[in-house]
């Protein structure tokens, strides 16, 4: 177990060795800050049916702020080890393959959590300032940040898989960005293909992250989404583990 934490510590620290972490953190805060400002000014315009959290998490600005950092966080995880050849010194130390894969995954996930943590301040400040005049529910916060974690778990696993497939981090970033974007926006299909049969529309809806976000920000925790993201994370990580072992033996 201590080996795992040694690996995890190195993964997490490696983000801060390069400027990537600081650049991502800076622009992420800029985007979400602007999004929050836009949300509050929308609420200020007059009576609305949405809460601050619904308005914040269901905008195009949120989508960009959420989707853009994911490939940047994950692109280096495996591809850099193969490109630099450090995979050889790493894997000839007494570590298990699974420890290496999991440490890289959780390192990226922790950075993602670190990215989102400051956004909680917005809502703490908001409720402090409005002092109950605006609609506010603890359940909505819990549910929203739970979904954020679930989405992060799955999409970071996809990013790790993409990174394990190539030694070029740009290619890894492009692959993961395409897959994550397609998955995230799959729910928009029903707006594009208008003559969809109701049953197909329902099925697409089950997998739609945007639709999940709509529900969870209302405070509704849908167990189907929990199972979907949980199981897909496990499957993607298992695939990453297989690809990693295969590539290591061919390196």
């Amino acid at each position: 177990m201590s080996r795992f934490f040694t690996l995890l510590g190195r993964e997490l620290k490696s983000y801060f060795y390069s400027p990537i972490a600081y650049v991502v953190l800076f622009f992420f805060l800029l985007l979400t800050g602007f999004n929050f400002w836009a949300t509050v000014s929308l609420l200020n315009r007059g009576p609305t049916e949405v809460t601050v959290i619904e308005a914040f998490f269901n905008t195009v600005l949120f989508w960009f702020a959420f989707l853009l950092p994911l490939p940047l966080i994950t692109m280096r995880t495996f591809s850099d080890e193969f490109r630099m050849g450090t995979i050889e010194s790493l894997m000839t130390a007494p570590v298990r393959d699974l420890e290496v894969v999991l440490s890289k995954y959780f390192g990226a996930l922790l950075f993602y959590i670190l990215l989102w943590l400051p956004s909680l301040i917005y809502f703490v400040l908001f409720s402090a300032i409005t002092r109950g005049t605006a609609a506010n529910a603890a359940g909505a916060y819990w549910a929203t940040y739970l979904l954020l974690l679930l989405l992060g778990m799955f999409y970071i696993a996809i990013g790790c898989l993409a990174s394990s497939l190539t030694r070029n981090q740009i290619i890894a970033a492009v692959i993961s960005f395409c897959i994550i974007t397609l998955l995230f926006f799959s729910g928009l299909l029903s707006f594009i293909v208008l003559d969809m049969r109701p049953i197909v529309r329902d099925v697409v809806g089950y997998f739609s992250a945007i639709e999940h976000m709509g529900e969870f920000t209302k405070g509704i925790i849908d167990s189907r989404a929990l199972v979907w993201y949980g199981s897909m994370t496990a499957v993607t990580l298992a695939l990453t583990f297989q690809v990693f072992q295969y590539r290591k033996w061919r390196a």
Binding site: S2, R3, T6, L7, G9, R10, S14, Y17, S18, M84, G85, T86, I87, E88, S89, M91, T92, A93, P94, V95, R96, K248, W249, A251
Partner: protein
């Protein structure tokens, strides 16, 4: 310490290592020699559990490198070819990380860190990022990494490649000192290095072991590699014909250099024909400007074994 039995590694289309067996005893410094692409690195990568063998078994300190690989790796300090390092870390930070990864912790880690920094002369760069270090220093960081957990066995893949002659001398000195406490398997194609540091040489060619013995014995065993040279002014004589009368001479090639004749002689092993050459020259009243005999070197052994193996 190392036991390798019938090791074979096939890649799609070609066999890199073909039915290789050898053993390395505790305390030996074994040089692993062979031309490029002979299978040295592949064998070392299998021993370090980095890649699996197609057939055969290998064990380190009694632990199978495939089925008990974590245990085997615990006893091994491995320095890969070209020494890949995390260049974004600082030297002591990197070594502390590697030490912790290999199970050295707490006060013991601090102690070991000081020892390997001293041993590999890294004291003056321990705060520098690895990316700022020269090749020679990186090589030493790699060596310090291999040593940090006090392994019983060191496997070093081309430890002196890309270094300048001074650095090569330093690393060679370091390896010889390490040999007092560790068992070492090192690969190289710099032959004098092996003659100076190793107690035993394993020569590998085209994936097979072609020789395994001490450098001394290998030199003695080789049959046809003696060379002698004499430069004379033979006048009207045919020097080739006359020199062939010496019993140990097998072959003579003569090239003209003005009115001098440069004669290259192939002679039998362990023969010394310098006196006889001299006597002949005096007898025939030749003027002599050079007379030498070259002893068999490991290079001759290497060339003969790895080329005839085709």
């Amino acid at each position: 310490m190392i036991k390798v039995e019938n090791l074979t590694k096939r890649y799609a289309g070609h066999t890199a290592v073909n039915d290789v067996s050898f053993e390395v005893e505790k305390g030996e410094i074994v040089g692993f020699l062979g031309p490029n692409g002979a299978g040295k690195s592949t064998t070392m990568r299998i021993l370090s559990s980095f890649m699996p063998a197609t057939f055969g078994r290998a064990s380190i300190a009694g632990f199978d490198v495939f089925s008990q690989s974590v245990e085997a790796r615990r006893h091994l300090g491995y320095m890969p070819e070209n020494v890949p390092l995390y260049t974004d870390m600082r030297v002591s930070e990197y070594l502390a990380y590697r030490g912790a990864l290999k199970g050295v912790r707490g006060g013991r880690l601090k102690e070991r860190l000081g020892e390997v920094l001293e041993l590999c002369s890294l004291g003056d760069v321990d705060r520098k990022p690895i990316s700022a270090l020269s090749k020679g220093y990186r090589q030493r960081v790699g060596l310090a990494d291999a040593l940090i957990h006090e392994p019983d066995l060191l496997i070093l893949d081309e430890p002196t490649i890309g270094l300048d002659p001074n650095q090569i001398r330093q690393v060679r000195e370091l390896i010889r000192n390490l040999g007092k406490r560790h068992t070492i398997l090192l690969s190289t194609h710099i032959l004098p290095e092996v003659e100076m540091t190793c107690t035993r040489v394993i020569i590998i060619g085209k994936g097979r072991i072609v020789a395994s013995d001490s450098p001394q014995n290998l030199r003695n065993a080789i049959r046809s590699a003696g060379d002698a040279r004499i430069e004379v002014q033979p006048g009207a004589d045919n020097p080739a014909e006359i020199l062939r009368r010496i019993p140990a001479v097998r072959d003579v090639t003569v090239t003209a250099d003005g009115d001098w004749s440069v004669c290259q002689l192939r002679i039998e092993a362990n023969a010394d024909i310098r006196e006889e050459m001299f006597r002949l020259a005096v007898e025939r009243r030749w003027a002599v400007r050079e007379l030498t005999q070259r002893n068999v070197t490991l290079e001759d052994v290497f060339v003969e074994l790895t080329q005839s193996n085709g």
